[in-house]
């Protein structure tokens, strides 16, 4: 048994930059005092805290974190792994995918299915080039676990997960099994409501005048 001396009163690192502002919680491991046994201090403090929080939110909506989802969507990060899309070549607008099936191979949930075919590229140089391309490229989004390994595996930058679409939904499984055309389409434009500021849709609890007196939202 090593160093079993119970809790040692160490305040952690001495460097002020890295010290947490929290108190030493293990110091609370003591019996309740008489006042605390009468429920009074904690209850009063608790009521004061909840009341303060209530008023701050009631009057100023200071801490509200709710987002009104369908109208108002938060920005997802640049690295967000959302629904896939297939990129296109700059030169001819065709799919960049060469049907090498690396993504199919990298996918842990086996949700990508590619059927390859040959295609003849337009004459860029004097030689005619023959290339592979996907005849069908299907991602079963119901199976997809959004791990991003397919994007890592692609040697052609042909598949990306940067559409920002956070959910692929449908009433039937077949609807969320996306084919080549669906995946290559540019993501649908945002709902028109998105452009309005709908953070608190007519949810003002106080009349506007009163709020102007008391302070502004955020």
């Amino acid at each position: 048994m090593h160093a079993n001396t119970g809790h040692t009163q160490s305040d952690g690192p001495k460097d002020t930059q890295t010290r947490s502002s929290l108190p030493d919680f293990m110091a609370e491991n003591r019996p309740l005092s008489l006042a605390e046994k009468l429920y009074v201090p904690a209850m009063a403090r608790g009521l004061a805290m909840t009341f303060g929080r209530f008023m701050a939110n009631f009057l100023f909506k200071r801490h509200i974190v709710t987002s009104s989802y369908p109208e108002q969507r938060r920005e997802v990060s640049d690295r967000w792994r959302g629904r896939h899309r297939l990129t296109r070549r700059a030169e001819d607008g065709g799919l960049a995918c060469v049907a090498c099936k690396m993504c199919e191979m990298a996918c842990p949930s086996h949700c990508i299915t590619i059927v390859a075919e040959e295609r003849t590229l337009p004459l860029v140089t004097s030689r005619q080039r023959i290339d592979k391309r996907p005849r069908s490229f299907t991602i079963d989004m119901a199976r997809c676990i959004y791990c991003g390994l397919c994007v890592e595996a692609c040697p052609e930058d042909a598949i990306r997960m940067d559409t920002g679409i956070i959910a692929t939904v449908g009433y039937q499984r077949a609807e969320v099994c996306l084919d080549r055309n669906n995946l290559a389409k540019p993501p649908p434009p945002m709902h028109p409501l998105l452009h309005q500021d709908l953070r608190y849709p007519d949810d003002a609890l106080l009349p506007r005048i009163l709020r102007r007196y008391l302070g502004k939202d955020r």
């Binding site: 010290r19 919680f25 390994l149």
Partner: protein, 417 residues
């Protein structure tokens, strides 16, 4: 470890407080036993688990957890995936703190491969593991508070957790199932404003934890619900395979970060909180204190992340950079080779354990030298905690089930795999 019992700071000597046991042989008036089942769909049974209880009035005579509702064959599945492909599955073990699972799994495979990860990735992993610990403890504390009826505390803590999830999303592109580590290092670099965002998360966490602490810790109702319930002494806890906050709550300071330092932990300054009584209140305090320690650890690492590469620069271990794949035949060959063949992990087996938020998370991996694991075994801390639940609930009341069950923080994903 039995030395705990005569600690002068203990509030009671054995036997621990709690409802008095029923007198043996003496049948009280209207004596009848009732079997009730909590779960599998029950507000307190987060995750899906069923507790079969036999109660006499409100006192529990016997308890039997029935698990398996979330079993999905993780180990079998991983035997048919390449090593890298296992990482998303590992995510789903303890889905609350997925970074810890990812990193632990990758570290185990790296050990087998015998590679050293660059210093920058090591520092980053330390930070992410501590972030995972904070997230997990926030969830556990919040859920326990909610089950005691303090819904406000739950939502306040969830706000702090959301901040961390946003941070994880910024770092790796997903909130919960992060898939943020690879064999050979970290695939994602810091983003712009990384430090500020971590600081903001820490600030929010400390703010919310302090609020909940003020709201709950010294509140007698809360105190009485936790103090003296779910008591387990260190001997029994060790015998039952408890690790992590459960064991430390019982007074044994076993923390693999200290006992078996991995990553940067031997260079960082932190201490391991231990409880005195082994009850729910001690575990609550231990978790609170661990949040504080982890916050300090995150700060220590945050300002000392060295520059340098993030992945091992070995094309047999980590994927070559995309520019090399796009432009060089050598690069694309390595890329294809690693993806199709998988990692050439030498034949043999290996066990490595890290201190996950709930206790010892070990990975026992067997490789036959092919590109796929021969056997993957995760040592889930929750399994042992849940198996020991009946021991903790002996002689308690129905209302203590939720408090105790909350404090062991059962995560169905890792318990049932």
């Amino acid at each position: 470890m039995s030395g705990r019992k005569d600690d002068p700071r203990r509030l009671w000597s054995d036997p621990p407080a709690g409802p008095p046991p029923l007198a043996e042989g003496l049948k009280p008036l209207g004596h009848d036993e009732l079997d009730i089942e909590l779960g599998p769909a029950h507000p307190a049974m987060h995750g899906i688990v069923k507790l079969k209880l036999r109660v006499e009035g409100e006192s529990i005579i016997r308890c039997e957890p029935e698990v398996g509702y979330l079993h999905r064959g993780f180990e079998k599945t991983c035997e048919h995936r390449r090593w890298t492909q296992c990482i998303p599955y590992v995510d789903r073990l303890n889905y609350v703190s997925a970074p810890v699972n990812d990193i632990a799994f990758c570290m185990t495979v790296e050990d087998m491969l015998g590679v050293a990860v660059p210093a920058r990735a090591v520092a980053l992993r330390t930070l992410l593991m501590e972030a995972g610990r904070i997230v997990d403890h926030l969830t556990c504390l919040g859920a326990s508070a909610m089950e005691l009826g303090a819904f406000t505390a739950f939502l306040w803590l969830m706000q702090a957790r959301e901040e961390w999830y946003f941070f994880l999303e910024h770092y790796c592109g997903a909130r919960i199932t992060t898939n943020l580590s690879r064999i050979g290092g970290q695939p994602y670099d810091l983003f712009t404003g990384f430090e500020a965002e971590v600081e903001a998360c820490l600030k929010k966490t400390e703010d919310m934890v302090f609020k909940v602490h003020k709201l709950s810790t010294r509140n007698r109702i809360f105190h009485d619900r936790l103090r003296g319930t779910g008591v387990i002494d260190a001997d029994t806890a060790l015998d039952l395979g408890f690790t992590g906050p459960l064991l430390r709550g019982s007074g044994l300071d076993l923390d693999l970060r200290k006992a078996r330092p991995y990553l940067l932990y031997d260079k960082l300054d932190f201490h391991v909180p231990v409880g005195l009584h082994g009850d729910n209140y001690d575990r609550y305090l231990v978790r609170l204190e661990e949040i504080r320690q982890s916050a300090s650890l995150v700060r220590q690492v945050l300002h000392a992340i060295p520059e340098g590469p993030l992945m091992v620069e070995d094309p047999h271990i980590s994927l070559v950079p995309k520019t090399a794949v796009y432009n060089h035949i050598e690069g694309i060959i390595h890329h294809f080779k690693l993806l199709t063949g998988g990692h050439a992990v030498p034949a043999g087996h290996w066990y490595k354990a890290v201190e996950a938020p709930n206790g010892e998370l070990g990975f026992y991996l067997v490789s036959d030298g092919g590109g796929m694991p021969y056997r993957v075994r995760a040592r889930p801390p929750s399994l042992y905690a849940t198996a020991g639940l009946p021991e903790m609930l002996k002689g308690q009341m129905i209302a203590d089930v939720v408090a105790t069950f909350g404090s062991i923080n059962m995560i169905g994903g890792e318990l049932e795999r």
